[in-house]
């Protein structure tokens, strides 16, 4: 198990280096000059421009800028935002809980609906339920988030008035936020109204963000269960006289989860990508919205630092999934122990 761990961790290093190059290069490929954007409508004198460029290091050749950036990165310094002058890491940590909370709810929703739906569709294959689910999930999967989010807002917020339009909580509530997770902090503050408000603000963004993972999980679960149900050991389980739900819910699902868990891990990356759109639509103050705003401002440090942090989190989650995979599948646990 130790060697397995070491191997997996070592494999992430080249990926991380790749991410730094991409993060560094792509933002600089965008047209637009951060200094001019920073100066705004009033403009900037040539003298001041050179001064600022020297201050930010833009007067150096690109490869040197990259090396400086990497040198700082290795010392744990992601640089400061051009705009707010705050360290990138501080800004990130201030916003990440919002995204984490949204992602957790979206993923929970995707799992709670997607897994059982996939299992039922597999058991009832070819029925009306199966066909409906497959059609709905394909529709959900193909639905652009920005469009889907707006539709949700129009229906549930504007027409029905059931949910708030945007933000994390109603402005009338204020309390300390030790965890940064609004629902949990609201719960600890003891204010039931605050908790309800925080929860109601989460509903629509979670649906918008969770739809694609939900569709993917439902379809993957269905096909994994269908495949497993044809296996010899399922026939054995039936020959033992075990009840049908135990066969599907234990014998089949446990084996099907091996593939489904991998898919769930990959969906974490999808969640962060989706968070950028979802947070923009719902004015959710998380890292997605932060990244978009920083891209508009050509805030190079924030964009490249943020990208690396997000990529790092996605990789860590996938590492965790790899270990879960070992726990679920005894063959892996033993062969690479």
């Amino acid at each position: 198990m130790f060697r397995y761990t070491l191997n997996k961790v070592a494999l992430t290093i080249p990926t991380l280096i790749g991410v730094t190059i991409v993060a560094f290069a792509f933002i600089r490929l965008l047209p637009g000059d951060p200094i001019l954007l920073l100066a705004g409508e009033r403009g900037v004198t040539e003298e001041r421009y050179t001064q600022l460029a020297a201050q930010f290091g833009f007067d150096q050749p690109l490869w040197q800028q990259y090396l400086i950036f990497m040198g700082n990165l290795l010392q744990g310094d992601l640089g400061n935002s051009f705009v707010t002058k705050q360290p990138v890491l501080t800004e990130f940590l201030a916003r990440f809980p919002a995204t984490l909370e949204l992602s957790i709810f979206a993923m929970l929703l995707a799992l709670i609906v997607g897994l059982p739906a996939g299992v039922i569709a597999a058991v009832r294959r070819g029925t009306f339920f199966d066909h409906t689910l497959m059609t709905v999930s394909l529709t959900g999967y193909s639905m652009p988030i920005f469009w889907w989010g707006l539709l949700l807002i129009i229906l549930f917020s504007s027409i029905l008035g059931w949910t708030p339009v945007s933000g994390r909580i109603s402005v009338m509530y204020f309390f300390d936020m030790p965890t940064g997770l609004m629902t949990i902090d609201a719960l600890f503050s003891g204010d039931k109204g605050a908790f309800r408000s925080a929860l109601s603000h989460l509903i629509l963004p979670s649906i918008a963000l969770g739809t694609i993972p939900m569709a993917v999980i439902a379809r993957q679960t269905r096909s994994a269960i269908l495949e497993v149900l044809g296996e010899d050991y399922i026939r054995t389980a039936r020959a033992k006289g075990i009840s049908a739900w135990r066969i599907v819910g234990l014998h089949a699902l446990r084996n099907a989860l091996i593939t489904v868990v991998t898919v769930i891990g990959l969906q974490v990356g999808v969640l962060f990508a989706g968070a950028i759109l979802t947070e923009t639509i719902f004015a959710w103050p998380g890292i997605g919205k932060w990244m978009i705003d920083s891209i508009y401002r050509r805030d190079y440090q924030v964009v490249q630092g943020g990208l690396i942090l997000i990529a790092g989190i996605v990789m860590i989650v996938n590492l965790i999934v790899d270990f879960l995979y070992g726990l679920i599948n005894p063959r892996i646990r033993h062969t690479r122990g």
Partner: protein
């Protein structure tokens, strides 16, 4: 009273090209404690008929029978729930591929415990003890430690022993062994067969042994059922069948046994079992039968002398006169 009675069992599979009859009018009775062998080539419907009995066929299968009863209890009119309470308890089945027949995600102990928990009201301790007892009964060394092993840590022979231990856990009246040694090493084959017979004698359960190995049949069974293309072509006591086969197919199968070979070349039966699209008219065996006549090619035979044949073989192994001609002559 026989333990198992099956009369006129047929199984149809719905396929993309219409119905395919995999089992056609099979009869089988098994007495308590008896060993019956079902032999035939691949595709002769041996496994399918027994899977139908166990209720293990996929939903594409339609099962019809005049009677299917275990211990006098009618299986056809029984609810699904009642059928399930018999499976694993009164009738158990082991399969051809031991390596894939155990669930890879659960330990051996869990899988044995599960069947005990389903059918017997035992405490946890009693079940643990029973599991260890079963493991040593089937000849697994250091059973206590093997209980926590996963299937992938076992060899094929060991896996089959675990399957046997699991399936005899609830003292079934009838054990169906579907080619239990086919996927195993030759040396292991004999051991597993030996084990099955010993267990049968110790527990007094009846054994239905599906095989395509005539040698295995001779060593184990009291009665033999020969199946061909879903039909039962001959069903007789083992010694009679080996000495004086009535059906040309049985004769040809026996002639293909190495120990019976008289020439340098081992005789074989030309051709293959007909599938869905090449079923011949008349007797299904006629294209491969050395005695086939025009009658065999046009009219399906009925059972005569215990064989599904127009001209069942006499004691010397020569075909007799077809019934119509025989009646006309007399």
């Amino acid at each position: 009273m026989p333990l198992l009675e099956i009369q006129n069992l047929s199984v149809d599979f719905a396929t993309a090209h219409g119905k395919f009859r995999a089992v056609d009018g099979v009869n089988l009775t098994v007495d308590p404690g008896e060993t019956v062998a079902i032999v035939g080539e691949s595709g002769s419907g041996k496994s399918v008929s027994m899977l139908a009995l166990m209720g293990l066929l996929p939903w594409t299968a339609t099962i019809t029978a005049d009677r299917m009863a275990l211990d006098g209890r009618d299986l056809l009119t029984m609810s699904k729930r009642q059928r399930r309470s018999l499976a694993g308890k009164d009738i158990a089945m082991i399969f051809q591929e031991p390596m894939t027949s155990l669930n890879p995600c659960f330990t051996v102990g869990f899988q044995i415990d599960e069947i005990l928990k389903t059918h017997m009201s035992l405490t946890r301790k009693e079940r643990d003890r029973r599991a260890i007892e079963l493991m040593s009964l089937v000849g697994i060394p250091s059973p206590e430690s093997r209980l926590s092993a996963f299937p992938h840590q076992l060899s094929g022979g060991m896996s089959q022993r675990v399957m046997i231990a699991m399936m005899i856990a609830c003292n079934p009246r009838l054990l169906i062994a579907d080619e239990p040694t086919t996927a195993l090493d030759v040396t292991i084959q004999a051991q597993i067969l030996e084990l099955l017979l010993t267990l049968q004698q110790e527990t007094g359960m009846a054994l239905v042994l599906i095989t395509h190995d005539m040698g295995v049949v001779a060593e184990t069974a009291q009665r033999v059922v020969v199946q061909y293309a879903g039909q039962q072509v001959e069903a007789r006591p083992v010694l009679d069948l080996f000495d004086m086969p009535r059906h040309p197919y049985t004769q040809a199968l026996l002639a293909a046994l190495p120990e019976r070979a008289t020439s340098q070349h081992l005789p074989s039966i030309p051709g293959v079992v007909p599938g869905q699209f090449d079923r011949p008219a008349g007797c299904l065996f006629n294209p491969r039968c050395e005695y086939a006549t025009d009658l065999c090619r046009s009219t399906p035979p009925v059972v005569r002398d215990g064989a599904l044949c127009h001209m069942p073989l006499d004691d010397a192994g020569n075909p007799t006169q077809p019934k119509i001609l025989a009646e006309a002559a007399s």
